[in-house]
Amino acid sequence: MSQIIPHILNGLSLGLLFALIALGFMLIVGVMELINLAHGSLFALGAYFAMMIISPNLVWTGAVGEFWQAVPLSLRYGLAILVAPVMVAVVGMGLEFCMRRTYGKKAEYGLLMTFGAALVIEEAIRLVWGPSEQYLQVPQAISGAVLFAGLIYSKYKLFAALFAAGAIVLVWFFLERTPYGAIIKAGAHDSEMVRALGINLSRLRLLVFGLGAGLAGFAGIVLTPIWGLRPHVGIDAVIPAFLIIVLGGVGSFWGAVAGGILVGLAVGITGAYASEWSLLSMYLLLIAVVSVRARGLLGKKSALEA
């Protein structure tokens, strides 16, 4: 039994990271009823932007880049983790702007459109940063290993889980305790009514998409030191994200968090017995849950079902 505990811990921290990936996806699905298949590409884009800030290409930036390289890594990393999500948010807003033509049509068009966008962003990454595997530097302070209860644990994974938990709490606070969150939730519930109350719905959607994209970018920065950074890393992010949302129930904040942790636990525990097959468990979990509960664990009726 005691052998399983590290796997459960591993699963929990993985679950928090999965929940972090799913958060931005959840926001966009909840408010706009749009499955953003470009989520994974925005995730990858966040990591690439961060890499660009942390270790800029000296050929392009010249002396400024050389000066910046001399600045301590922790400072560069800190700036990257703040600025790169904003840059991704801007890209996301641009995407939302293009998406406007598909509103009011069948939901499949949104899906197709974001699939195309995902392909375009991935190819653009390949064009700019090349197809090979790269890595994102992290400061000394949060890399290396820690000993915890006789177990060696990667310090960065611990920090990543903390980052994820922090982001989840912040998003919860934003959604539940601020007037903006109330408007977003109201927009998810009944967008007609929100518009009737004089709130600019298209600006709301732009902001929500930006926020969702920014969260995707943030998740990318947190996760790529663990997963590695390559142009198609996004696919590893978007699949769990949509699994978690469907599992947890569309538009439910706690559903996304619970779904993320469940998927993390399933992957972590099956990893103990059959590491080769561990990722299969999340698909089987989804199929099992959705066969019984069509709306996922905590989902309410959604317009997506129609």
């Binding site: 598909t102 939901a107 699939f115 195309g116 966008a117 392909l119 190819e123 696919i235 299969l280 698909y283």
Partner: protein, 337 residues
Amino acid sequence: MDALQAIVGRWVSREMLLFLLVLVTLPIWIEPFGLYQYLGVEIVIWMIYGFGFNLLLGYSGLPSFGHGAFFGIGAYAFGLFQVQIFENLLLGIMGAVAASFVAGAIVACFLSHRRGIYFALMTIAFGQVFWFIAIKWHALTGGEDGLLNIPRPALEVAVTSVGLGSNVALFYFALSVLAVVIVVLWRLVHSPFGKVLQAIRQNETRARFVGYNVWLFKWAAFSLSAAIAGLAGSLFSMAQQSAYPDVMSLHASGIIVMMTLIGGGFVSFWGPAIGVAVYFLARDVLGTMTETWLLWFGLLFVLVVLFKPEGIAGAWQQYVGTGSHRRVASLFRLGRK
């Protein structure tokens, strides 16, 4: 005589004959265009795949993002049959079709009461399951490398035997399969069955209230479409002489959606064929000019979704329908003055 004409008219159309005529002559003119015979094989195989897929996407309005799984199952089943059991062309193809039909039928049991986005999401999940199994089950599938050295068995009709070793021979074999698929599908979509599928696409609730067993129709369309994908997959494993998990990935499954949509599968029976031809020509023509041709193809796809969801076939229909071709012609006359 008229009765005969009526029967023939139900099974074939003028466009069909024209389309097949163009393809029959393809081995003669493809090389002078600077392309190669194998491209023809690929195009024909993906057209089979696309026509089968459009039964689901265009006619029933069910977007499957996991159809690569059935294409892959067909390819693996054909390869395993040839390598593990014995070399036989037609039995191998039948085995592949049966395997993908069974897989599709099982998946369809989980999917047929879903619609819209939830349907699409579940197809992604199932597609990923099959893709994952194909990668991980080394003993059966050969893992990421896949099955290698799959033979191209000879076609045996009565006492004669025709080798399919050359790409031209394989092209004509695949083309005859395509011809059968087109005739059957054409008949099917113009039958009462096809009309019900279109009714489901337009309004599923209404179709149910009229009294159709919507679940069964969706199940049948999905299983049939999966079987055709498997048929295409078996030909593909012959063409490549190998079967590998790449064709089952989400990326590959998405590409067939793109092809069908760009061509105009929503408004025309011929949409998938146009889309497949455009995709492969783009790959080979743009691909020689730039490494990132998929970027430009993706942009084209995004533009089509945004501005012309009816695709190339839809644009053509509109162009002919509104008489704008005459207006364009008059513009040219103006220019000449």
